[in-house]
Amino acid sequence: MKRTLAQSLALYAGIFLLVLIIGLPFWWVVTGSIKLPQEIIQRLPTMAPHSFTLQHFRKLLQSSDFPVYLLNSIMVALFSMIVTIVLALPAAYAFFRMAFPGRNLLYRLILVAYAFPGIVVLIPLYGLFARVGLVDSRASLVIVNVALALPFSIWMMRSFLGSVPREIEEAAVIDGAPATTILLRIMMPLIAPGIASVAIFAFISSWTEYLFASVLIVSDARRTIPVGFAGMIGQYQIDWGLLLAGATAATLPVVILFALVGRWFVSGLTEGAVK
């Protein structure tokens, strides 16, 4: 397909705008985190840093609670990710590869759960957790994060499971392999990209969860980044260098994760037909 000059211009203008809208704010934040305080607040902002300092990161890691929040966030996100995969995988397999009565109804119920406002269940959930002694525990966050990520995760497996030819399974069934073996030995390797994208989704939604973490966690030592870091905004006399360093540090783990397996997640989104 050849493009006319006008179409090429429109395309590259679009690309330029995208880079500007998405990239520039991040560029300013990351470069801001290594500028000297006087350069950050100077009247005319600089595009590229003219100074270099690690003082904001030093302060962030040495004299704030940020490292604690970071560790909590990583722990909660990893556990949420594992539990989500363990629950989503067999459920998705049953929904998209097996026939059983009530399948459509149950599947629809799960889709409804995805769009449901979390804040509605927050209040009663707090009471339930209080009764079993789970308030102010990181486990409570894992439980909530899994519940929030599960519906979309199951839905996202649809395209990956659908792409595996039926013949492979049928051959295994004829050979007398039990369904659990089929799932673990034959399907698992074939749908590894799907598992990767569920893993990313579960990790990210846990990493960014604010609402439940702000209510269920009481002590500072168990806070995750979204809540702990939000508290730092007001706690210090707005120290932009520190906040920009924190923003950079909070972005880094998901960027690393995304660099490793992000393309699977994107293909999970774009191929998982919207239906």
């Binding site: 397909m1 801001g32 049953a94 979390g118 209040i123 009663p124 899994v146 604010y210 909070a250």
Partner: protein, 291 residues
């Protein structure tokens, strides 16, 4: 075959029971709470019938928050659809760096909301910041604009910020719809002499419409539920201008310590959302059947 059915239930049961316990049961409890008079979390309540509903529906707060939620949802839908459609069209073309662009376009969506909040608080700050000094230097304004100082501009700024966070996600979902339009259709149209605009209005738009409708419904529900960006940016201010229903529920429960009232508002909110979802789905299936 019988054995298989049992196995299917074994596979589905853990996820289903988990969702029922963590989302389903609390939902039932929220309904129960809405008929009681609980104040602070954990305190005992008494049955008061429909008193909470009468108070909430008779007062102003619920209705004005509902109105703001509608503005919020419509604003987000318009801004995000325009941005996402443009982005999806770009990402559906071939250009060097396409693979990288398709992955990293979603950067704004994978960072925690608090990072989004810090980015925009800083960029839009009136003392220092980035946007204000640049606008002043360019001679467009003479004094810094307080983006969160007036009721209207606070809502507009919040809608733009939330759209900034979500449009790449929506764009990738739209891209899914675009890539499923067969390329031969465009080829045939080109041979027939259809120009770019005709190809868009006659092929892309009609074939993409079902995707857009589904996304519109899901996106509406998702942006309705947004709480953290609003709370961290403005906490519902200035003077309640950005207090949407989720913010009102949170305020009532955790700042006002009126738990039952908050539960009542959340039940009413759920009713509004579910009726919207049911009506939208019905309209969708009806228009599909009409084809």
């Amino acid at each position: 075959m019988k054995k298989n059915t049992a196995l299917a239930f074994v596979f589905v049961a853990p996820a289903l029971l988990f969702l029922l316990a963590v989302l389903g049961w609390p939902l039932v409890q929220a309904v129960i709470f809405s008929f009681e008079d609980i104040g602070i979390i954990g305190s005992q309540g008494h049955f008061v019938g429909f008193a909470n509903y009468a108070a909430v529906l008779g007062g102003m707060h619920f209705w004005s928050a509902l109105g703001r939620s509608v503005v919020w949802v419509v604003g987000n839908a318009v801004v995000q659809t325009v941005l996402a459609l443009g982005t999806a069209l770009v990402l559906n073309q071939k250009f060097p760096g396409l693979r990288v662009a398709r992955v990293w376009v979603i950067l704004t969506w994978i960072v925690p909301t608090v990072v989004v909040v810090i980015i925009w608080r800083w960029l839009l700050s009136t003392s220092g910041g980035m946007i204000n000094p640049l606008l002043m230097e360019a001679g467009i304004i003479s004094r810094p604009i307080g983006f969160f100082a007036t009721r209207r501009s606070a809502m507009v700024a919040l809608i733009l910020i939330n759209s900034w966070r979500w449009f790449p996600f929506t764009a990738l979902m739209m891209l899914a719809g675009l890539t499923r339009i067969p390329g031969d259709l465009y080829e045939a149209a080109r041979i027939d002499g259809a120009n770019a605009r005709r190809r868009f209005t006659r092929i892309t738009w009609p074939l993409l419409r079902p995707t857009l409708v589904v996304l519109g419904v899901i996106g509406t529900l998702l942006s309705f539920n947004v709480f953290d960006v609003i709370w961290l940016m403005t906490a519902g201010g200035p003077s309640q201008a950005t207090e949407t229903l989720p913010v009102l529920i949170y305020e009532t429960a955790f700042k006002g310590y009126r738990l039952s009232e908050a539960a009542t508002i959340s039940v009413l909110t759920s009713v509004v959302l579910m009726s919207f979802a049911v009506l939208a789905t019905r309209a969708m299936t009806a228009s599909e059947a009409g084809r």
